[in-house]
Symmetry: C2
Subunit: 205 residues, 2 copies
Amino acid sequence: MVPKQIKKVIKIFSDFPTVGERTATRFALYLLGLDEKSVKEICDSLVSLKKEIKLCSFCFNPFTPLKDENICLICRDKKREQTLCVVERETDLWRMEETKKYQGLYFILGGEIDFLKENPLGKLRVEELKKRVEGLKPKEIILALNPTRDGILTMDFIAKILKPLACGEQSRTIKITRLGRGLPTGGEIEYADEETIEKALEGRR
Amino acid sequence: MVPKQIKKVIKIFSDFPTVGERTATRFALYLLGLDEKSVKEICDSLVSLKKEIKLCSFCFNPFTPLKDENICLICRDKKREQTLCVVERETDLWRMEETKKYQGLYFILGGEIDFLKENPLGKLRVEELKKRVEGLKPKEIILALNPTRDGILTMDFIAKILKPLACGEQSRTIKITRLGRGLPTGGEIEYADEETIEKALEGRR
């Protein structure tokens, strides 16, 4: 009943994150309702996304190279502090940059450890991170993953792996830190969970 | 911070049904993580979706024409009963066909009336439906929209519009019906709402 071209597009969208078959079907029918020109424009945008965007070899943030640079503007900025902030995703980096509160460099890990998978490290850029730390020798590494269960486990794991590099005899010591925890601004104590209150008490000043 | 190519793709996906900016961003980063060949394949599928699929001029179901037909296989099937089942969406038609319990013809209305909009009829194919009824002169029109508030209002509206056509003096009378309502198979009386129980009582046999 469903034409094979529609089935194929449903299959494609079902592979998108957070999308099930039902939503994928809605997407396919939505595209079918657009005119041919709009679909062509969408495709052009997807192709130029892949063609014109590179991942920075240092931090893995997507950027538009002017010529054939492999390093993004942030990583090339000599005025940046030599600290390395490890985040999970591109959007974490973007959010931190928006706030203009951090002046150092970044590294996008690409996810969290998933202990339920056969290969828990998945596509995490652990080797790339080690190489970057060895090359940069930052004065501080800030582990800025989300303080969720998986995020914390991942930070523990990363900290363990980076320790030998951070304390190597030849190199000066690298400090490994994590973002402070406590009540979020605007948060209400009444609704804060136990651990948040505990951390807020510990971090009081 | 976010490259313009990524921003553009986020904008594109934000226009998809049910997708907000956050999900659109995930989609863009997902595509960025695919290799160039996969993105090319996705684009090819989207283009052939638009190129190879036509909407049937009678029922508006998407189909793959073999040559340059404008009418789908269902509408061309002479063995089909001359009843016209009006559904909201393509997926409703597909579901009904799957069950093999209906042997007549269809018409996809394309939505429900949205009374909160400036143009409540939106893209509903009301004129096309009138034309189809006049041309086909079916012995029965089944209004098979979802029995939600908006669906019921839309069926009331459609019934009112079709009435003059159905009772015209020159033409034989066309019956206008709706799907039976009551408890769904497997449903539990304990959890049924008031109206469902009322309709189930009315429809008892």
